[in-house]
């Protein structure tokens, strides 16, 4: 923490700030400058609340210096987190992982047809929502447990690992029982009660970035999971909200690259939700891998026009296969292979 004084602050005001710092059990180090004095705060073992100094006479600003997260930070742990799935695929290592599947599990036939095509195309993880958080209460809310059972069946049949979303404690326990990865959605990124529960279930978690969450808030949400004892956490950039509704969201490729620098956790990208328009999905998926994403998760549906949710962003299976071929070449350009099933 650095407390910056106004240029016209008095020595007594600086002194009062130093006393406040001392009263918190910390050490004050005044730094007289050309224009103004700043007072360094030393000895803290975690963030100090700037509110302690705001509004004190003569104080212009209180600037935090420490990053607020620690366990997720590459500064504190250099080793990359590797998440090894039961089907032999590892997320976070040199291999780039392709996850694919429908937005929602709708029926056995729909899911099995999609899963077969995902595997044929070169995907190694199957996605599909059984519990759907929907903006409108009148929209399709998912098949629930029945959907989870269909996903488990598809895994058995294809060898794909399974990722699916949990939306509350009850569904989280069910998902942890049936799937390889628990997905936490953007709207639940700061549902701390849920994070605390999911952090104890022992299943790998993919934590989506909130629609307007800063990178720091995203990492702090992941910190909740690690703090609850979970290590196998991956982040997912799924597009942030902007001022322009021409695309559903904006894929933040800079955040993918930055998150990989800041944290040892694998970073996944979701180009389907990031763009919301079928014709933009493959370009965005390519961009994500080019920027360094460890995995992409992409929606595909055999008949998008009949999909019960988000059909406008689902790729046709043939287009999904074309995209995977392009991703393989792009990954190669930065010396990464695509993950394959053994």
């Amino acid at each position: 923490m650095l407390v910056v004084m106004r240029h016209d602050s008095t020595p007594a005001e600086v002194e009062a700030v130093c006393e406040r710092i001392t009263s918190l059990g910390l050490t004050a180090r005044p730094m007289p400058g050309g224009e103004r004095v700043a007072v360094g705060v030393l000895g803290n073992h975690g963030p100090v609340d700037p509110a302690r100094f705001h509004g004190m006479p003569g104080v212009a600003e209180a600037i935090p210096v420490s990053a607020p997260y620690k366990q997720v930070s590459r500064e504190w742990r250099h080793d990359q987190t590797l998440i090894r799935l039961d089907n032999g695929v590892t997320i976070g290592g040199p291999e780039v992982v392709v996850m694919g599947g429908p937005c929602a599990v709708e029926s056995e036939d729909q899911l099995m047809r999609t899963a077969e095509r995902v595997r044929e195309a070169g995907g190694t993880v199957l996605r599909g929502g059984a519990f759907k958080p929907r903006t409108s209460p009148y929209a399709f809310q998912g098949l629930g447990l029945e959907g989870l059972k269909l996903l488990a069946k598809a895994r058995e049949r294809t060898g794909l690992a399974v990722i699916t979303e949990a939306i509350d404690e009850e569904s989280a326990r069910m998902v942890a029982d049936h799937a390889d990865i628990v997905q936490l959605g953007a709207r639940n990124m700061q549902n701390y009660a849920l994070l605390k529960v999911v952090g104890t279930l022992g299943r790998p978690v993919m934590l989506k970035r909130g629609l307007s969450a800063t990178i720091s808030e995203w990492l702090l949400a992941a910190e909740y999971l690690l703090d609850a004892g979970l290590h196998d956490v991956m982040l997912c950039e799924r597009g942030i909200r902007s001022f322009d509704a021409a695309t559903r969201n904006v894929l933040d490729v800079g955040a993918i690259a930055l998150a990989r620098n800041l944290t040892h956790l694998p970073v996944v990208a979701d180009p389907s939700h990031a763009t919301g328009r079928r014709e933009l999905v493959a370009p965005a998926a390519r961009a994500a891998v080019a920027a360094g994403a460890d995995a992409v998760i992409v929606e595909t549906h055999p008949e998008p026009a009949k999909a019960l949710s988000d059909g406008q962003q689902a790729l046709l299976p043939d287009d999904f296969a074309t995209m995977v071929r392009q991703l393989r070449a792009i990954a190669a350009s930065i010396d990464r292979p695509l993950a394959t099933l053994p």
Copy 2:
């Protein structure tokens, strides 16, 4: 729904769109224009998914025409929702309600001192968090049930009604047992699992707008509560996220005025979280009442510098009292009195 064709679309492409509409059990009405054809979709009793038409040859756009919400809409229900609290105060009527209290309940002494000052200043509802959703897992998380009991005690002593936040199903049931109003926070606005539960508890709910939720999404979240059977729902504008970190958030006064036009639900404003800086709270509170807010909820603390959370935005009790006096004059300028305890 209006399906807009490209200007160079062919009659066969228009025909295919009409057939798709008919196959959904709806009626197609083509409208040839100067530059292009548009096809109206008639006969739907709820929103039609634009995905049904995106990507069809010749289609430029599919534009929804119906608003996606219904029960919260003033278009469908003209009567204003009035929420009558046990202490005689009504939210949503001509009277403007002032809610005040600390960010978090910290101790009996802190809460009682604050409650007394809120009542003396002219407030009629006491706020105070017992369950705190915090960005960092290392921050103070609230006193929990003990906090609720202190709030109930303060109500007994002062006659103030009590509002406090619930963060999951378990805390929601406890809050509904101890408080007059259940607060749902911005980060939980789209926690649909929680909305469905809270909508059945029978307690009035104040639903905060998400940090980057559109007005339409906010109303749809409220629609979840009404759809679950609850009528006593109020909305709370608490500042939206912008590109400028100079203030914590931006109080959207236009949204306050617009929400009052679109919906029959009362609209509350939270100038404390909207600004995040003590010196801006009173101006923002005045602005909210001037724009038509039915209530304001404002943080005040006897010793902000010692507050366990958000001290930098808490008003001193004297400043809170000054603010209430100004709000009374502003409300009068648009012919509204402040609510008072009987």
Copy 3:
């Protein structure tokens, strides 16, 4: 400037940073902390470029401490700027000023009818665009010099002062010749070439905040005007761009209050462009005055449905008059009168 080192930085890396600082003619002051070292930079008389330190081994961040503006800052000049217009009205003092008029000057009849109604209602400054920056090249671009002459005529007839927009050097010289205040639009806020010219013309300037300009960037743009020799500068908050298109923009009432704290320049609000919807203009105007705006500038048109631009946000003259009555009461609630013509 504070250079924050990584917690695992080496003494040699800290030393290299100190040497870089010294090589810039500045003084380095290392501050060893509990977790990491930070190095203060002293002796600078203006902002130091953080790029000097980014990317050096062991450096985590370089945090600017000085505010980048100076002449506009209340920290460096305590006296409030008062802008005295020829018609006797002062902007920036205790009186709140109401400016009104059409979006664009369309004809003598339209302008004179509007000006009369603005004066009757209690306005003291007439607005009206003669040079219109339009998003589309096919939209009405204004009457140009003829419009300026009509504005001057209206001033003569009514006693209202005149404010109108300049869009380039040529129009700026014409506006300075014919009007009392030169308006610079949001899209030109960072048109530095224009700022440098307008700063030399000697006419008071109203500088609108850019659609997504931070408060700091807005003040720096004003700094260009002061640096060019102009003192009579007022700022205008006209709504910022958000993620929600339900309202055209979002009136940033917190920015109004904060700008008044940070700078000695008067702050005006434009509720018409901030909301873009007629029914929201009066609530937003009230909010602006309640938050402390020194003036409001509001569009009104005798026949909005026939307006050549922005008719959807123009108040009818009667509604304008009602709004002024409300503003008078709101200003009184914070001990400010409305300005009147002598």
Copy 4:
């Protein structure tokens, strides 16, 4: 235009809307639906102002159907725009073009050293600012005409084409005389006076997207250039402003892909300004090419720590060369070669 009536609108209100449409010389087509009536507006040859209908009794919304731009639209002109530079390089065709150079021209030595390295690495266009629009009036403002002469000299020596920014009419004429491409910066995207001038100079123009410009506004700004007679226009996505200051801006890769669908103009990406941090530039450049950008423009400087502006985002020449190698592989993955000098 579609005028959507409230569900409780009366036949007389619908009739009044039809009359308003007819009075504008257009044709009204009422479409009675299940819940409400909508009225189509036919016969218009350009956008109709929604303000004509807002606020009429019974009207819920007026929804524009036509896109507001035309000459830039691929819907109206199918042929891709190809911009052929004098050095034999074409922008907008199958080849991907790499532009590189310093943020600002600082000296002959700096520029020549950089230009040589850009050419060696495989770049074909040299960038470098001679007129610098700077946020602060106290920052380095560029060498002006002297900088242009140095750029022309570097072109002569290296065979690179030259792109540099114009900031007002005067500099635009000088740039058009000395450079191959006139760059218009983000802050001037809606400086319509400047667009009108630059559109008549006959030099190819690169138009940067404004910091918070929608794709539609960006295309409309380009429409100004085409409307003034210029054909050789390219767009440049340079990052949009978001709520997170962790990166300077957010590279909108979806906008790159979408703009290429909507318009026949070439689309360039500027990963340097989009990220603002050296370590993110190459990942963002790769993402841009993967998403389909026709060119990238990247800052490189022989000694970034001594750069007079934006040093923190300049690549070292070796890193620039590595980036170009990666871009070549990525372009190949979507069947595009990099442009080379003949």
